[in-house]
Amino acid sequence: MSVRTLAVVAAAVTAVLGPAMLAAQSPISYTAVTEQRLLNPEPNNWLMYRGNYAGWGYSPLDQITPANAKNLVPVWSFSTGVTEGHQAPPIVNNGVMFVTTPQQQVFALNARTGDLIWRYKKELPEDLLQLHPTNRGVALLGERVYVATVDAHLVALDARTGKVLWDTTVDDYKNGYYFTMAPLVAKNKVMIGTSGGELGIRGYVAGFDAETGKPAWKTHTIPGPGEPGHDTWSGDAWKTGGVSVWLTAHYDPQLNLSFWGTGNAAPWPGDMHAGDNLYSSSVIAIDVDTGKIRGHHQYHWNDSWDWDEVSTPLLIDFTKDGRTVKGLVHPGRNGYLWRLERQAGGIKFVDARPFVTQEVFTKIDPVTGRPTYDPERKPRAGASVTFCPGLWGGKDWPPAGYNPKTNYLYVPANENLCSTLVGQAAPYEAGKLFLGIDRPKTSMSQRQGATHIGELQAWDMATGKKAWAHTFQDGLWGPILTTGGGLVFMGGTNDRNFRAFDAKTGAKVWEYKTNSGVTGVPSSFAVDGVQYVAVQSGWGVDAQRMQARLDTFRNTKTEVPQGGVIWVFAVRN
């Protein structure tokens, strides 16, 4: 009997026996997700966005290896029925998989068979603007599934049935606020950050009671009057200064701190919001109980390049000058690989080095990490300024991965791209684009003599040096999965391939051509002793935008088919 059939039977029994029997006749076997399990996730599960609180994108499973990866085959696939950017990881709890898609769907599937258990689809407002039509996944706690929505709601679903348990309206989408991230769950709080930096919002992170959905705290990423850092903004620029929070935080339970990457200041040119603009383009440490900011490090001040530091630093301990550092490691959109130290009292700069060609920073202060800029490479009103890396930076949102066995950090980078911007001030209007540029004069270019753009880089955390790189002709938008079997999985290219690499050497050991471009976060899990690798294929959002820019200056036309499919692979015996 299939899981779906079981569900139908259960529903019929419920109708006869009444709601009191619902739990006893529950349609699926489901294991509650406890805080303890989130702190120590079992190898066979993928319980959160990056698999663990440290944000590694690492599965300890080791059945699939460089030796047998050539035998990987699809076990099942599932069409999501929608187009646009499919970026969420398949999140798996003891054989039950949860996947989100654009247009605010959540699927619960039997992770072994691919049979549908339930589907949730939120009705979206007809006048919604979707600048980033995507969703990056669910969070789990107890028997609840949490999803943050593109129309600025936070919703809790019953993990067994998909029924809405509560639906909290967090903000007004008409003013440009929306959510794309998978929530972070810790200490009985569900935490999210807001998107909308291109629409002149004032960013924040907010925590909610995991049982009721009631707001617990809200912390703006732009300090208000009287708060420390408010004086780093000029005039009223703080009210519409952006500083979105796009991606799920990582969490250190010993310090009780969550670490959030923050977006650029708005509008783009820095002379339209003079000052350092805390806490834009930073990492901030937030106490999950209170929402208080306990520390920060600003990667670069007065952003002028649209260099959102959207990615969350990975919690990796490393050795520096003979001392073990409890680290935060961040391959930045600004093209530098940052190593910081996380402490109870704050965040301390350790070192930084470029991982792609970077022509804007002229030096980095060795003590504070504060960069000095070439003023001719800093966009401003009335001037045409070219800078490298371009506005998509050295690495955008696709998360890096860390494998404790190789001690390598894997970075999906883009090299050799530059942007040209002409600053042009325009008044703020709620819910409208607020970029501060002469848009038709925006362009992208490739560095002279460049032979490639995408680079999958491996950085040795023991030496701080690059171990290997695998290059790709066009842009790379591939989130990283790395495994105990010694592999790195990644898609991200316009040729629809999903690939496996030897984690130690960088050699490509397998590839499979999917339905569309793979910009989903891959995950790995096991059911009945068999290891699987799962990923969504569905091209869109910024990967599509970058491709359009490349086509414009190359005078080419690249067709990447759209439409989302969940793929699950295993080794054929």
């Binding site: 929608v82 187009t83 769907q105 006048d127 603007l129 008409k174 409208k432 684009l433 935008r545 759209q562």
Partner: protein, 194 residues
């Protein structure tokens, strides 16, 4: 927060006046009628006002639409009640004046003195900002780079948009462009996943 310093909107004044004279039930009905009028799609004979910028809510005249653009983003306005239909973003209309000889026959039939009207909301994911290419008579959405040929019924030339922008027939009345029909097609985009 106190109300000190607030400038009550026109509808607030109307509600207060009606509340005093006619009772709150009547005021509620009028508010509902207002809201309905604000939500309604462009109606024949509606005028246009600027949707934003320094001239927000000012009447759009022929002088505001120079040959070859740039386009104006507008909302329709009921000429009798002066109610601007700005409750829904989907009511925004893009107006631009082109040389009538460059328009295809269907587009020319809907145009008034070369002025063409289209939904100002992209059929891809609902953006409503536009970059103008006067030589080509093309608007480009900066969000995901869809391009629409306004000379030819807003046909999609490039980008991810699945269909053209709905067209709005126009007329000229008292020297200003007015709505001459209803949207041909549904403004907005599909969220899919049926």
């Amino acid at each position: 927060m106190t109300r000190q310093g607030w400038s009550p909107a026109r509808r607030d004044v109307l509600r207060l006046a009606l509340g005093a004279g006619l009772g709150f039930c009547a005021a509620g009905r009028v508010d509902a009628q207002d809201a309905g009028a604000r939500r309604a799609r462009p109606q024949p004979n509606d005028r246009f006002v600027f949707a934003g910028g320094l001239r927000k809510n000012e009447l759009v005249t022929l002088a505001d639409l120079p040959p070859d653009g740039p386009p104006a983003v507008t909302y329709p306005m009921d000429p009798a009640t002066k109610i601007v239909r700005d409750e829904s973003r989907l009511n925004q209309v893009l107006l631009v004046r082109l040389d009538p000889s460059r328009l295809n026959s269907d587009t020319r039939a809907r145009a008034a003195e070369g002025i063409v009207g289209y939904s100002a909301v992209c059929t891809h994911t609902g953006c409503d900002a536009w970059d103008w290419q006067p030589a080509a008579g093309v608007v480009k959405c900066p969000c995901h780079f869809s391009e629409f040929d306004l000379k030819n019924g807003a046909q999609v030339l490039n980008g991810p948009a699945p269909r053209r922008l709905p067209a709005l027939p126009l007329r000229i009345v008292d020297g200003v462009p007015v709505v001459g029909g209803v949207f041909i097609g549904r403004p907005g985009f599909e969220t899919g996943g049926g």
